[in-house]
């Protein structure tokens, strides 16, 4: 079974949101309300329990050759965000029920029939992807179209993308292709094109790569994501120390109070008397 991935190339994205729509249609994801955000053409704002693909609209100062291609227009860039399907996935490691599993394609999948809505995956995700639905009670995120992949098809978002901004395929192949694409963009003078790839971090790489222009932080892509599991060793050591200290204190307190007869001398309250 091939290990698969998404490569989302923002330099090809036209902001049509076909990926969002295709995802909702195929996966029967509920609507997220009809509120206006006032933030460019983005009324969805973030990935969540009812948004598994999310097109970001990044507006910047006028720049020749970007967006409107004229020096007096705002530049307008688009990038379709998605669950990163981490190699060391915080949500998967946090899940106490075993609802979140790794699929044979390398993706991270939430089994809706097992999830009991404890919410621990929500604070385990360094990308703020997975979220608990207040109406349904369970946690949801991109399934990597596990059902379609099993049937030999490609995810709905990649299928619907009219500009091939969303590519789907073998992870190693796409990583290679991404590097070549960034080189090609640099050759064409788009010197600010970069590949966002979390390979060097504790997340251990992702199954979603992004080509963006400029600082990836403008797209809310964290430069150094950490899988929360890295904090566990120190925390458990501290817990062990605290438990030992507490037990020692209780033993010592009762052992030392033996001679004094326990009850404090000037205390006249009888045990068992409520105040």
């Amino acid at each position: 079974m091939a290990i698969t991935a998404f490569l989302t190339d923002s330099t090809l994205c036209i902001g049509c949101k076909a990926c969002e729509v295709a995802c909702k249609e195929w996966n029967q994801v509920p609507d997220d309300g009809y509120a206006w955000s006032g933030l460019s053409y983005d009324n969805t704002k973030a990935l969540g329990h009812s948004t598994w693909r999310h097109v970001k609209f990044v507006e910047s100062a006028p720049r020749w050759g970007v967006g409107g291609n004229a020096g007096d227009r705002l530049t307008w860039e688009f990038s379709s965000d998605v669950c990163k399907h981490c190699e060391h996935a915080g949500c998967l490691e946090a899940c106490p029920t075993g609802s979140i599993v790794r699929t044979e394609f390398g993706g991270v999948y939430v089994q809706p029939d097992v999830c009991n809505g404890c919410g621990y995956c929500v604070v385990g995700c360094p990308f703020g992807v997975i979220d608990k639905s207040p109406t349904d009670g369970r946690a949801f995120k991109c399934t990597f179209c596990y059902d379609r992949q099993k049937a030999g098809s490609i995810p709905a978002c990649a299928k619907a993308c009219p500009t091939e901004s969303i590519l789907f395929g073998d992870l190693d192949e796409l990583r290679q292709r991404a590097t070549e694409r960034v080189d090609a963009l640099h050759d064409r003078g788009m010197s600010d094109a970069v590949l966002w790839d979390a390979q060097g971090t504790s997340v251990g790489g992702t199954h979603a790569l992004f080509i963006v222009r400029g600082d990836p932080r403008r797209y809310n892509l964290p430069p150094a994501p950490e899988v929360p599991t890295v904090y566990q060793r120190g925390a458990w050591q501290s817990a062990a120390f605290a438990a030992c200290a507490m037990l020692a204190s209780v033993v010592a307190a009762f052992a030392l109070s033996r001679d004094g007869g326990g009850t404090l001398e000037r205390a006249h309250t009888q045990p068992g008397t409520a105040i």
Partner: protein, 314 residues
């Protein structure tokens, strides 16, 4: 504006929208941290004081009931917080040591059962002047509840420390000790308020208050941006109020009014309030921390962020 600069300002983030998701936990979770911590420490006190023969019988008995009641209440609170409460048993579907939530669910299951059994054995012994089997089962259950009680009071610090929330993971080493001291103080205070004016309880309360004072000092001295929600706005004031009521206030009351049972009672009541506020404060701080996109993006904290505390270290 020079071409190439970002219209969105000097700090590049996506419209200042959060990178992380807010913890979805509601009030039940901080309440559980408080109740579970107190119950766990009560089980330890019950086990240790109970081994000393008859003189502490009434104290050990009340501590056992506190542990049993707290264990049952804890389970209820946790089930209530689930999005699908009817699927509570899925928590015991697998055991995952790498998930503090899984470790906690199993610990709570063992703890509440053992604490309940220990208290029930007390009841049987009273009613039937029960024989050796009841005593053996009661003692074994008591020992198990004390062992798991030690985990109950500390693991909640690991639970929130090992998350993506900056204010929590920054203090992942402090939290288990902080919550253990808070749990011990709660159990001792409850027992004192039940009328047990015991020398050992006063000593333990002093130890806990000293530890809480130290924890407060560590938080206040930390100039990192991640700690801001512990020091500013609503979450900051709750945490600070909790810290003062858990640390310096009972410490001074117990040291200055060492001979006054009234002062000890007041210290106990205030420490109990402090322990509850501490849990609520950390919970609220986690929610605020998740809203700030700057920390996950590695950017300096916003200059316009409400700050009532000392300015962050440069």
């Amino acid at each position: 504006m020079t071409p190439g600069s970002d219209r969105i300002g000097e700090t590049p983030s996506y419209y200042d929208l959060p990178v992380l998701k807010r913890p979805t936990w509601t009030w039940e979770v901080p309440a559980y941290f408080f109740v579970g911590g107190a119950a766990g420490a009560a089980a330890v006190i019950a086990c240790v004081s109970g081994t000393r023969g008859t003189s502490n019988d009434s104290l050990a008995r009340d501590a056992r009931w506190l542990a049993a009641g707290g264990g049952a209440l804890s389970a209820g609170l946790l089930v209530m917080d689930l999005g699908r409460p009817d699927r509570f048993l899925n928590m015991l579907r697998v055991f995952k040591p790498q998930s503090p939530m899984s470790v906690g669910a199993w610990t709570l299951a063992a703890f509440s059962s053992a604490a309940g059994a220990a208290a029930f054995a007390d009841l049987v012994r009273d009613r039937t002047r029960g024989g050796l089997p009841v005593v053996v089962i009661g003692n074994a259950a008591g020992a198990l509840s004390a062992a798991t009680g030690l985990v109950m009071t500390t693991y909640t610090g690991v639970l929130i420390g090992a998350t993506a929330i900056p204010v929590w993971n920054r203090h992942s080493r402090l939290l288990p000790m902080h919550f253990a001291a808070s749990g011990l103080a709660s159990a001792v205070s409850l027992l004192e308020l039940l009328g047990h004016d015991h020398r050992a309880l006063n000593s333990l309360a002093l130890v806990a208050a000293a530890a809480e004072t130290a924890a407060g000092a560590v938080i206040e001295r930390d100039g990192g941006d991640a700690s801001r929600p512990l020091k500013s706005a609503g979450s900051g004031w709750i945490t600070r109020a909790g810290g003062v009521l858990s640390g310096p206030v009972p410490l001074v009351l117990r040291l200055a009014g060492a001979s006054s049972p009234r002062a000890r009672r007041a210290a106990a009541a205030l420490a109990l309030a402090g322990a509850m506020l501490t849990r609520v404060g950390w919970w609220a701080a986690g929610r605020r921390s998740a809203d700030d996109p700057r920390l996950p993006l590695g950017l300096p904290a916003a200059a316009h962020a409400p700050s009532l505390g000392p300015p962050a270290a440069a």
